[in-house]
Symmetry: C2
Subunit: 307 residues, 2 copies
C-alpha cells in the first residue's frame, strides 16, 4: 500500500507520495493566496495530487491533514472554518481519485508525526501544541492518538485563561482563550499595541517574530510582550500536564521557531504553574519535523486506519 | 477471589468485604479525629479490617483508596500528605494481612466507582471531579482508568485559574489553582470574608453548605460567593472537556451535595467557557454513589489489577 498524502495548511499546502513507514518522495509545496478558500484551494491541491498519482505503484489510499475539527468517522466538521462551510472534502477527494480517504485534524496529525518520526519518539504519553496562526493540540496516550468522543480532544487553544470581561477575543473562539492570548497574531497584536503605547514606530511587516527577536536582544518592551504571552502558553502546557501526566510536551508551529527566546522562559514558567510533585516530570521540547509534521502524521493515521 | 477494601478518606474511613463485581457486605465506617494522622489512623482501619477478615471466604486481596498521589506501581507518593511522610501504607497492609495489596488514588478510585456502578455507567470517556476539602480528579478513557506516566493524571484541582500576584493559596498547592478557589474550605473562606465585609454575623459552624443554602434562598451575598467559585469550577470542567472530549463529567464530593444550587449555574457556565463546537457535547451530572465511590472503585481497581 502507498499513501497519497495532503496537508491543507493555513498558508501552505503540501502533498507527497509516501510509504506506510513514513518514507516519501519529494514533498510538493504550494503557497496559498489569501483569497484561495475552500473549493478553490482544494482544486489546486487536487491538481498537484493528480500529477503525483500518475506515477505507477501499489494500491493507494488518500491521507489528509485538515486545519479544523474532524469527526471520528473522518467527516470534516468545517462549519467554523471560513470557506469550507459547504465543501465535502473527504467526498471530493474520494471522487477525484476513486480511492479511500482518511482525514485527520492537523494538530492531531502533527502529534502523530512528531511521535513516530520527530521529537516525541520513544515516549508512551506525549502532548503536542502547535502555536502558529492559532493554537492547536494533539495527544498521544499509550502510544496511540487519543481523539475523544467526538474527535475534538486536546483543544488546548480553547481553554479559557482570562475570564475577565475585557479579555481579548480571536477568530471564532470565546474571549480569553489561550489562542486569543498566545498565538502568533495575538503576540503581534500585543507587540503593536505596546510599541504604540510607547510612541515607538512599528516596523514594516511586523509579526510575532519581531517580538521574539527584540526580546532576544534584551529590549524591554519585547520581553514584556513575550513574557505575558509565554506565561499564558505555560499555563496551557501545565494544564495539559495536569490532565494527562505526559512524559513530554512537544511545541511546534511557526512561533516555536523562536527557539530559546521562547523555550527558556516557557520551561521556567511551566514549572511555576505545576504542583510541586509534577515539576520537571515532563520535558518541554521543540518539534523536530517543522512544517512536515502534519503531512507525515496524516500518513501514519491513514496507514493505521485499517482503510 | 474476594476483596478486603479500605478507603482512607480525609474525615472518614471505610472498609468492607466485596466481590469483584462490586457487591459487598455492610460497609464499616469510622470517623477520623483531627489528630489521627498516618500511622495512628492506619492502625484504627487495620483493626476494623482484621475483624472483617476473620469471616471465612475465598482467597483475598487488599484494595486501598488513598487521598494522595499514588505511583503506578501502587506505591504511595505521600511526601506532601501530612502524617503520611514516612508510612509505608502498602507494605504495612501487606504485612498485617499477608495478602497482596493494590493502592489507588482516591479520586481515581472515585472515577472508577462512578463509571462502573454510578453516574458514569455506559459512557466510554468520562471525567470525574471530587469537590470537597480539596479538588481531585479521575478520568476514564476508552472504558479504562487513565493514570498517566507517573500515576498523576487528571490533577484538575491543580490547574492554575488565577495567575495574578494576589491569588489565594491553599494547602500545599501553588497560588490560584482551582482547588484554592473552589473547594469546600475555599468557598467557606470567601463566604466568611463576604459576610465580614458586609458587617453581617457569621453563623456558628459556618461551611460552604451555608453559602449554597443561602444562595438557594436568593440571598445576594451568597449568590455572589457561589457564582465566583462555580465560575472557576466551570473553567476547570471546561478545560477537562477541551482536553479529553468526554461524554460525561461526574461531580462528586461533599460540595456536590448542594444539588441544583451548584449544578444549575455550573452547567450554564461550563457552556460559556467551551468553544461553540464543544457546547452541550458532555453532560455534567452529580455523582450517584456518594461517599462510597472511592471504596467501590478501589474494589474495581484491585479486581482488574491481575493481582
Amino acid at each position: 500500500m502507498e499513501i497519497l498524502a495532503f496537508d491543507f495548511g493555513g498558508t501552505r499546502g503540501r502533498c507527497c507520495l509516501a510509504q506506510p513507514d513514513g518514507s516519501h518522495d519529494d514533498i510538493v509545496g504550494l503557497a496559498r493566496s489569501p483569497d484561495e478558500h475552500g473549493a478553490k484551494w482544494l482544486a489546486r491541491l487536487l491538481e498537484a495530487g493528480r500529477e503525483l498519482n500518475q506515477a505507477p505503484g501499489k494500491r493507494r489510499i488518500v491521507a489528509i491533514s485538515f486545519g479544523g475539527p474532524v469527526a471520528p468517522d473522518g467527516r470534516v466538521v468545517s462549519m467554523h472554518v471560513p470557506g469550507w462551510e459547504k465543501v465535502d472534502l473527504a467526498g471530493e477527494m474520494s471522487r477525484a481519485f476513486q480511492l479511500p480517504v482518511c482525514v485527520e485534524n492537523d494538530a492531531n496529525a502533527g502529534a502523530l508525526g512528531e511521535h513516530r518520526f520527530g521529537a516525541g519518539r520513544g515516549t508512551r504519553h506525549m502532548a503536542y501544541f502547535t502555536v502558529s496562526t492559532g493554537i492547536g493540540g494533539g495527544v498521544i496516550l499509550d502510544g496511540q492518538l487519543y481523539r475523544g468522543a467526538h474527535g475534538l480532544a486536546s483543544e488546548f487553544g480553547h481553554m479559557v485563561m482570562d475570564a475577565s470581561p475585557k479579555a481579548p477575543q480571536y477568530a471564532a473562539g470565546k474571549p480569553g482563550v489561550l489562542e486569543a492570548l498566545a498565538c502568533g497574531p495575538a503576540i503581534e497584536r500585543d507587540g503593536r499595541a505596546k510599541l504604540g503605547a510607547l510612541g515607538k514606530p512599528v516596523p514594516a511587516g511586523f509579526t510575532s517574530k519581531h517580538v521574539f527577536d527584540a526580546a532576544r536582544r534584551g529590549e524591554t518592551w519585547a520581553m514584556e510582550v513575550r513574557d505575558a504571552a509565554v506565561a499564558q502558553l505555560a499555563r496551557g502546557v501545565a494544564a495539559a500536564i495536569c490532565a494527562y501526566d505526559v512524559e513530554r510536551v512537544v511545541i511546534g508551529g511557526g512561533v516555536s521557531l523562536a527557539g530559546d527566546a521562547l523555550f527558556e522562559p516557557l520551561r521556567r514558567m511551566v514549572t511555576r504553574y505545576l504542583p510541586h510533585y509534577l515539576e520537571n516530570k515532563a520535558d518541554v521540547v521543540p518539534a523536530a519535523l517543522g512544517d512536515n509534521a502534519a503531512l507525515l502524521g496524516a500518513v501514519v493515521a491513514a496507514a493505521e486506519s485499517g482503510t
